[in-house]
Symmetry: C2
Subunit: 195 residues, 2 copies
């Protein structure tokens, strides 16, 4: 969200950051545009000037975050050879991100976008999720993963880890997620691995 930041972009980023924090803390519908402006020290007029309406703001946030995540996954794919290593790196990254930036994780995979962005496809159809499914498909082709419906395989592989994330966001887990990574990943991989 923060790049070269010509003055032009500064306001936008201020607003997006405030919106992310408030959406996570109180939810989209419990957050008014006034709240966002107050928190970002930006006037309502500016917000509407930049984003058109409240949904436009949410949309901008959503695509910025998923684009960034897709890019991260792409990098991890290039850094690791096997499907096993790639998928594990993705889970590790998601766990780290949950601790370092809970609101990002919360908004990206826990918020019910359908309710405030009716035209946006569901999260599981977003770019990052598609990349993860594709990763599984390749692992099946290479023989690392048992042959089955790829949709089932990818849901079973990532389902556990993803629920660990939501459990952590709900404060159900006492310790930071990376502490649970080894055990979680062992279970996840056993679920679908050939060996």
């Amino acid at each position: 969200m923060t790049t070269i930041s010509p003055q032009r972009e500064v306001t936008r980023d201020l607003v997006l950051d405030a919106a992310l924090a408030l959406f996570t803390e109180k939810g989209y519908f419990n957050t008014s545009v006034h709240d966002i402006g107050r928190k970002a020290h930006v006037s309502i007029g500016s917000i509407y000037h930049h984003f058109g309406d409240k949904a436009g703001l949410a949309r901008a946030l959503y695509s910025a975050l998923t684009a960034h995540m897709a890019q991260r996954i792409g990098t991890l794919e290039r850094q690791h050879g096997s499907c096993h290593d790639q998928a594990r790196a993705v889970v590790a990254e998601l766990f780290d991100l949950t601790e370092s930036a809970p609101p990002v994780m919360n908004f990206m995979l826990y918020a019910r976008h359908r309710e405030f962005l009716p035209d946006e496809p569901p999260v599981c159809s977003s770019r990052p999720f598609a990349m993860m499914r594709e990763m599984v498909r390749r692992g099946m082709a290479s023989g690392e993963i048992r042959r089955m419906d790829p949709l089932i395989a990818s849901t079973c592989l990532f389902g556990g880890p993803l629920r660990m994330i939501t459990a952590r966001l709900d404060a159900l887990l006492p310790r930071p997620l990376p502490d649970y990574l080894d055990d979680t990943w062992t279970c996840a991989w056993r679920a679908v691995a050939t060996s």
Copy 2:
């Protein structure tokens, strides 16, 4: 939700059914109390008489559904001996329920209750989820499930199946969930089983 239904309860059930349908279709915040009254053919006054306020209505719905589900799980526990059979029966039940009553499933495990019921604990703390964790704990004691943090085990066991449910609710899966039960369960159980 429908028992003996003295006239006293008839209005309540009418309202709860309409609310469930609308909350699922448009979300809690996009549904007005007027909408609910219109759909249930009941006046606003009656709704407030019975439920106090909009959140009270949601609370009544939430506890009715989780109570019912907890009861179903209890029955399944009694009908099956091993942890494996119990847990599989629970997943089968959840899959069936997702097809026969999508709104029930949707409201129970997909809605973001925190946003409209701030005082209610998160879903994963509800009775049914607690029962499922306890089931896993027993399976670990009896040696069916590998020794590990019980919270991780239960998340890994049920994480895949639960994500299958949300995928189906998001219309990502073309066929009815029970068609996927065998493969999903095989993966889920392998994730945590000792053998």
